[in-house]
Amino acid sequence: MYAVFVLQPLALTIQYSLYRWNGVGPATWVGLSNYVTVLRDPDLFGTIIHSFQLVLFFSVVPVSLGLVTASVIHRVAPGRFGTVTRTVLFLPQVIPLVAAGIIWGWLLSLPGLINQALDAIGLGSVTRAWLGDFDTALPAVGLIGIWVLLGFCTVLLLAGMTKIDPALYESARIDGAGWWREFVSITLPSLRYEVGVCLTVTIVAALAAFDIVYVSTGGGPGNSTAVPGIQIYILAFLERQVGLASALAVLLMILVLVIILPIQRLSREERR
């Protein structure tokens, strides 16, 4: 009992002290003027816009594609084939994000696989250095995110699907429901909680994206793929503008909370 009450506050002290650094940081080094700068400076505010665009790729696409993939596995490949698919699709989730960034940095480069494939199907005219082009860099980073997160969403949603009572499907089929009807009126409502979790995880991944962006583009070309995580790093450790970096960090954390909390509440309530 003694140890539990001594060690546990100890753990909490570390915990608290971490948070206090964070809380104290802005208070000591930053006035409100830094927040004004973040919101006014198009480059800094742009990073927040970019991260919302990344949400589209990191979150919306993997969750919807994951829903489709999971239901396909659930329907046509219940046996070993499904297990293999699951294992393979999950693979990108366990490798370091840095590695994913390097791998795709190569695939998307001028001589890389993507351009090779485009050449092969006669689209040689659109080939380019995808990550070095102002117009395509951000979607290209998004593509990496899709690759990494699709497996996670698929496996999680699939786990949710196997918990749905098969009797529901049988009665639906007796009523003559097709694949789409089944999907909309049985699968989707039963998966609200899992979809909520997927959205939470992927949105946090998008808003806090650092590893992939740092390795694949470093925020460039220009500022076209700079996200808050990168900008915080650049400001604090390369440009030594600690105050500004902290203001951006606080805004990022608030942003995450503001977006995540409603999703959590929604998915938990609807579960009952």
């Binding site: 002290s17 994000l97 190569w106 786990a159 590893d211 604090a236």
Partner: protein, 274 residues
């Protein structure tokens, strides 16, 4: 279930396609890694003369042996400590229901959504003051603390869902809280603790931001952090970069293939609970 043949084939074709997209990048860097060092091959092209020596060269250039030791040290320093702390805290909050447990739990839940980027700046300056920068402990200590929200939440969920009979029976037999924790509940919680441990090990191995900012010497970093430095130095030598990447991936891949059931289950449970 009656499902038409066409649908089965179409579905399987889709899955095969997705699997190919997942695996092709790995194949591509593997083939690229076999090209002569310093050349610029195409994305998917088997070399005329496979240079298996590239792997050896990358192993030496990246000082892989020292790296493996460094990463292993960090994992071994982080995971056991974090596990003990998280289990005890989860026990106190979930089972003993100490005063203020709800408030503590809320604090931890808030910590769950906290992106590392948010605290990296103050962390750097604090560690500079403490003289921890550029040591492995600069990574180890914050990681232990940063895993606490998730770890405590995870263990609390385990302890809170236990039926209270076990605890009561042990109490009747005269067990004090200490014995109750170590003799009864830790052995019972072994699966939950094991999954949490696997998760923390993978996360630590792959941790990049903390390593990048807090430790300058790649040899004191985690695997992922070292890979970042490697990329910085050899960005122009694509085959060597690919060989190095594969070497750094290999341990994770092996662990994944061996423990894939556990890892998938742990990651999923973890996110559902979180």
């Amino acid at each position: 279930m009656r499902i038409s043949r066409g649908e089965i084939y179409a579905g399987r074709a889709l899955l095969l396609g997705l699997m190919a997209i997942t695996i092709l990048p790995f194949v591509s860097i593997f083939m690229t890694a076999l090209h002569p060092s310093g050349t610029l091959p195409r994305g998917l092209e088997w070399p005329d003369d496979p240079q298996w020596g590239n792997f050896l060269e990358a192993f030496e250039v990246a000082n892989m042996a020292a790296l493996l030791r460094s990463s292993t040290f960090i994992v071994l320093a982080v995971v056991p400590v974090a596990l003990v702390m998280a289990t005890m805290a989860g026990f106190a909050i979930g089972l003993l229901r100490i005063p203020g447990a709800r408030a503590l739990l809320l604090l931890f839940v808030f910590g769950l959504t906290l992106p590392f980027e948010g605290i990296i700046t103050p962390l750097y300056f604090l560690e500079r003051e403490m003289g921890l920068l550029d040591t492995r402990f600069a990574i180890v200590l914050p990681l232990i603390a940063l895993y606490m929200p998730f770890g405590v939440f995870w263990m609390r969920a385990h302890f809170a869902n236990l039926p209270s009979d076990v605890t009561e029976a042990a109490r009747v037999d005269g067990a004090n809280t200490w014995a109750l924790f170590w003799r009864i509940h830790v052995p019972l919680a072994r699966p939950a603790i094991a999954s949490l441990g696997v998760l923390m090990a993978v996360w630590t191995w792959n941790q990049f931001l903390l390593a990048l900012v807090l430790v300058e010497d790649p040899l004191q970093r985690t695997m992922a952090g070292a890979l970042g430095a490697f990329q910085g130095h050899y960005a122009t030598d694509i085959p060597l970069l690919c060989a190095g990447t594969i070497l750094i991936l290999l341990p994770t891949l092996v662990v994944y293939v061996v423990f894939q059931r556990h890892i998938i289950a742990a990651l999923l449970q973890g996110s559902v609970k979180g």
